[in-house]
Symmetry: D2
Subunit: 355 residues, 4 copies
Amino acid sequence: MIKVGIIGATGYAGAELVRILLSHKDAEIKWYGSKSYIEEKYAKIYGNMFRLVEDTCLDDDLEALSRQVDIIFTATPQGFLAGRLTEAILENAKVVDLSADYRLKDVSIYEDWYQIEHKSPQFLEEAVYGLCEVNREKVRRARLVANPGCYTTCSILTAYPLIKEGLIDANTLIVDAKSGASGAGRGAKLPNLFCEVNENIKAYGVATHRHTPEIEEQLGYAAGQPVTINFTPHLVPMNRGILATEYASLRKISRPDGSLAYPEEAQIRAAYEKYYGKEYFIRLLGQGIYPETKWVEGSNFVDIGFQIDRRTGRMIMMGAIDNLVKGAAGQAVQNMNLLFGLPENEGLQLVPMFP
Amino acid sequence: MIKVGIIGATGYAGAELVRILLSHKDAEIKWYGSKSYIEEKYAKIYGNMFRLVEDTCLDDDLEALSRQVDIIFTATPQGFLAGRLTEAILENAKVVDLSADYRLKDVSIYEDWYQIEHKSPQFLEEAVYGLCEVNREKVRRARLVANPGCYTTCSILTAYPLIKEGLIDANTLIVDAKSGASGAGRGAKLPNLFCEVNENIKAYGVATHRHTPEIEEQLGYAAGQPVTINFTPHLVPMNRGILATEYASLRKISRPDGSLAYPEEAQIRAAYEKYYGKEYFIRLLGQGIYPETKWVEGSNFVDIGFQIDRRTGRMIMMGAIDNLVKGAAGQAVQNMNLLFGLPENEGLQLVPMFP
Amino acid sequence: MIKVGIIGATGYAGAELVRILLSHKDAEIKWYGSKSYIEEKYAKIYGNMFRLVEDTCLDDDLEALSRQVDIIFTATPQGFLAGRLTEAILENAKVVDLSADYRLKDVSIYEDWYQIEHKSPQFLEEAVYGLCEVNREKVRRARLVANPGCYTTCSILTAYPLIKEGLIDANTLIVDAKSGASGAGRGAKLPNLFCEVNENIKAYGVATHRHTPEIEEQLGYAAGQPVTINFTPHLVPMNRGILATEYASLRKISRPDGSLAYPEEAQIRAAYEKYYGKEYFIRLLGQGIYPETKWVEGSNFVDIGFQIDRRTGRMIMMGAIDNLVKGAAGQAVQNMNLLFGLPENEGLQLVPMFP
Amino acid sequence: MIKVGIIGATGYAGAELVRILLSHKDAEIKWYGSKSYIEEKYAKIYGNMFRLVEDTCLDDDLEALSRQVDIIFTATPQGFLAGRLTEAILENAKVVDLSADYRLKDVSIYEDWYQIEHKSPQFLEEAVYGLCEVNREKVRRARLVANPGCYTTCSILTAYPLIKEGLIDANTLIVDAKSGASGAGRGAKLPNLFCEVNENIKAYGVATHRHTPEIEEQLGYAAGQPVTINFTPHLVPMNRGILATEYASLRKISRPDGSLAYPEEAQIRAAYEKYYGKEYFIRLLGQGIYPETKWVEGSNFVDIGFQIDRRTGRMIMMGAIDNLVKGAAGQAVQNMNLLFGLPENEGLQLVPMFP
């Protein structure tokens, strides 16, 4: 039995970790960390957990925690883990960080976009970017996993094979993303009030959202060169789900007769199949079928669909995830499974809930 | 492995049966019946089931089906099963009917409230009303289970112990119930359109809703005499969930000194504990805590809270369920577990999803 | 032109006053009071007002304000106005208070239910309860109007004629009310977050909600004796709207032959017509039609429907309003119209928006 | 008083015409056409209109109607008006068509994208595309106005000045649009059910949506050459509102010293001001402020914001409208005002409703 500690257990991502781990047959939560609710019963904070969780929230003490558990999940604000992580902690326990602290290899980019000083850049090199479908082997050997962001997981996976195969021009990529409100967390802020979000849609963080450099870094690895993209997030009046609609110019490829032409549907599909054909969590939809966030709700699936537009010479790619599952807690558990040599989908064979 | 056939597999209740049974380790769905989508892939009707269900929808043939499976769930309109059920079918397979056809013992009440002729009243006596927490032992020995309605499950369980113990006057009971839109089914009808339901609340079926006699019959058994109540359903702009707010006059009970007085909080609580103390699926909330439908979403739980109002001499009882789970598919699987001698919560240890 | 000052102009009720008054041909807003946003442009707080309101928010100074305007609306927390109101203010300007400070005539009931000391009980006698359809004449002569609460407006008007005419027993009245989230105000509190309210319904303040004594006092006047009722509010995932579903035992009345019988549909209807037949804002729906909050959204209408249940001897009455309009700002403007001798529906002929 | 006939008065766009015209002091609705509800009271179809509209729905008879009214609005399916329009009708009354029948000048493009034969192409040349801010003078002299589509109004106006001024490359334009569910109409279809739309977002009509050629034609006029774009609509779980997020490559422009550079914020703003500075209905938001659909709900406003992204050399432009108002009925009334020489915003000074 893997002993698990969660720091930030009362945020939405932390609570989703609890939901998933309660049904994981090889894991047991030993520590519900929450500095806001110390000594309160966890089930009082989350009424859905009544009778399922009897534990009380504990203070956030990473060192103490690391000696009692096998793995620590930190679902905490940016800068929290970077300010506390030590070699001792990493010797005691695996760490999967759901914040952005170790996602970007270049500390200056982190400090630029997040506007905070990074307190432990010495761990950046070691940290593995936990996008399981791409970095699976590295994760298996890691001590410290940087769990990808919700928007980034969806944005990267939707375009990855086509960039890797050179079928689209990565520098023309535009990601128009739409997220449910749980992505904003459980903080009591005016813009997150029901009456402000409901019956409304808006863009935010236009050209400045912090997930941009994370997408660029990862897609840069795929492209084999630096990539600059547009990323625009939108807030949608729903609890869960991210839909990324992505646009990029198609590259012409050689045909048997030597001429150049846009790729056919089958070639695009083959590229996706090459990378995702054996992936349990990635579902490539059939021709003319586009993903809907409701189809993945509550599950760890990534649904991907695409449409070639020969009129404009562009690809339109669409990906959908549940931001709290594949975009946060589910992928974190997927990483845990990799770290401990379990089947990757253990505890994650969640059937999406509809309606 | 229990072989399962579902008739009406493409309605919301049928789809929820699929969702639950896919994770049930002792059951296997062999037949996805749907007269509207014959020969279409099930996953094309429900995109969430892509790659999880490879089957194709079949015509509704009860006789053929009964020879191939151990249990048949009928998630069909009123009158469907009553018009087709035969002794032969019941000899071949257990039947759990999610419609109202066998819920009311008195055929004239059925015909009155449903305005259709009952085609097989000969099975009414044998049918067991599948409210597991109340009729558990009878269900175990049944061939034909009448799975309770969604409103009724919630309404009955919320008041049952207090009526059984005589702490409230059953004939003063008023049930004001609120349901999410999935209770109306997947029929393409104008009142169920997004723009008609969203940002709106209304009562419907006032004083005439068909779940009324079902509640009255069952609470009548508890009271030991016929009961007449008010039941008012409301449509709430959400997908899932039923909340029943119930009002009844408290009965004064004898105190040690012989005087009469309203019961105390502890006495009310003791009555609930007497009937539900060992029930896995019924969660009696702490003092001053009232149920929220979100706390049971996706699960088979019934959450119950109450408040004594000494100013008016009334009890206010509140119960919440997920209408598609405990109110339909979940309770149907709970009945299946009873019918086949499995642990009652097998495949039903679903953790509610929040948010 | 009536010069208007609003204290608390940046709450939802205050903002609705602005929305309505901008289209009122005889009124002009001179003061946008908001202690939270002093010196900020109003249109920055409410983006919908961009280019429609050029004013900047001002500090809350009642005395100064009263010398500059003809009427002050206070859309402020309980206790605010009671702590500041003076004779001088009332000599300078009319005051319509949207808080509860002057709604209850008995100061001890106020202090009991609101748990705050009333700082200016000397104005209680003078204050007129501004339920226009009931107290129209008194309002015309008032200086200080206590604008009714949202739940109370809906709850009282729905039952008023039947209690006044003795057709129902007021002490059996149970009001099960459902409100959209704007009723909770614009405070940044966790329970009001989108993800907490959306896809959820719950009761709150059961047997303790502060609108209870207000309903009781007013219905007591109608009944000619003290009345004790049950009132249970619920939070519904929608922005606007209140639906009150009300239950009461019918009283038997004398028939021509001297026997006693429950009233007929026509008699109930006649009672409603007697009081509301000439009311512009009260719409008595046809037989078998029940109100929906969407039908009154954005308007000052009160829609009322009813159903006699002879099986149980009870009336079910249903009323719907827009909580921000007839439940707050609309009624406040209706009171202003009365105070200044304008047609009562001036600026309030708002057509409900659907969908 | 302008006498108005509405064909298709019971669809959402038709109902919005009714809502707006009821408050228009110079117009009077004489004919509520609805072939689905002939002889039913209009207020029975739309409960919000109870007591405000006493009329009964009439059959759709354009010829008869044209003799009784000054203007006909057709809020009807594609092909309806094209199959019935005659010279006689146009001699009798002005016609504003809310369908797509006369929006595209090239009949072959219409027949291609709509897959129906155009039955009266002889009126195409005469028809004026009723995008008031662009074609104001032509509308004034028209008999037949093709009221623009909802997506198109928003998409075109958001980019128009920058294309007209050559600040962006029109052929790089990508319009990612998001719409509330009322855009799909009131047809009882499964994909429009509450449970299918709620808690969900999806793209549809990718690379094939019929509003594409309409946007291309109009932006082509602005660009002075044919334009090919990408347009992707999405369905958002809300009743009203369209948000268009638009991307295009900036063009470098000459600076005083002769060098080329991307335009500055002020230059972009100046371009918008040049075309929209005097427009009542177009609100150019301040720097760093992006439109939200809630800010225009119920009004005829178009809110526009933008962000220059120097990293990628792209403009991100965002526009928001209420799809039923500026995207349909409001713009139709604006066209009516132009046709009859009234102030353009007569009856359209609607204050957006928030929340």
